[in-house]
């Protein structure tokens, strides 16, 4: 099972975990990334390249599934406007092997960071805007 979603709407990590648990593979590893405190960030804007995001995230999920023998992969990446605490992305993997589930989850996050065509702009409380990283 592979499910890749690119959306502005929020999602429920618990519900996504449940979908993977229902595969009865044994191990489910997940990662949720959100807008964190600190650095005086008031708001975050994320733009994306929709056509490329779709193909690239699907590729990343397929690579992970093959490489780590996963029974399930879920990737969710949001775009739009965010504030403190808002979820930005979610990656999760189900596998018979506990180590593989975790390695897959790390692979998914590393791949998203390196290849996902999403650009984040932070708006500080001082009114300044700066591109992330």
């Amino acid at each position: 099972m592979i499910d890749v979603r690119i959306q502005s709407a929020d999602f429920d990590p618990g519900r996504q975990l449940k979908r993977l648990e229902e595969l009865h593979s044994g191990a489910v590893a997940s990662f949720t990334g959100a807008v964190s405190m600190g650095a005086e960030i008031e708001a975050v804007q994320v733009e994306h390249y929709a056509a490329l995001a779709k193909t690239e995230l699907a590729r990343i999920a397929e690579e992970a599934q093959e490489r780590f023998s996963l029974s399930g992969v879920i990737l969710i990446h949001r775009y739009g406007s965010f504030k403190l605490g808002d979820r930005l992305l979610f990656a999760a993997a189900a596998c018979a092997d506990a180590g593989n589930a975790q390695h897959a989850c790390s692979f998914l996050i590393d791949a998203l960071r390196a290849r996902a065509p999403f650009w984040r702009k932070d708006l500080t409380s001082g009114g300044a805007a700066r591109w992330f990283k």
């Binding site: 994306h48 390249y49 490329l52 193909t55 996050i109 650009w119 992330f132």
Partner: protein, 88 residues
């Protein structure tokens, strides 16, 4: 042989630097790869020179598929150029 018109899409800080999200260009016939295209754009004055000055900070996609510098743009209608992304 000319490539004909090519739409270039910009994202992230590139979009901001150019003040637009796309432009139509007509590159010369020696522009055959992603690297050639960037090379050619970089000599079109500012803000091109600054934006494309550091080639390691330029990513590309041809017809919506991720592309390496050596990949062909010959015959392509749409090439996207953008900085590295990431929200974490």
């Amino acid at each position: 042989m000319a490539l004909g018109f090519l739409d270039i899409l910009y994202f992230g800080s590139f979009r901001e630097a150019f003040g637009r999200d796309c432009e139509r260009v007509d590159p010369p016939s020696h522009v055959l790869t992603v690297a050639d295209l960037i090379e050619w754009l970089a000599v079109q004055g500012e803000p091109y020179a600054s934006v494309f000055g550091d080639r390691s900070r330029v990513r590309a996609a041809v017809e919506g598929v991720s592309a390496a510098p050596g990949d062909s743009v010959f015959g392509a209608r749409e090439v996207a150029l953008f900085p590295p992304g990431g929200v974490l």
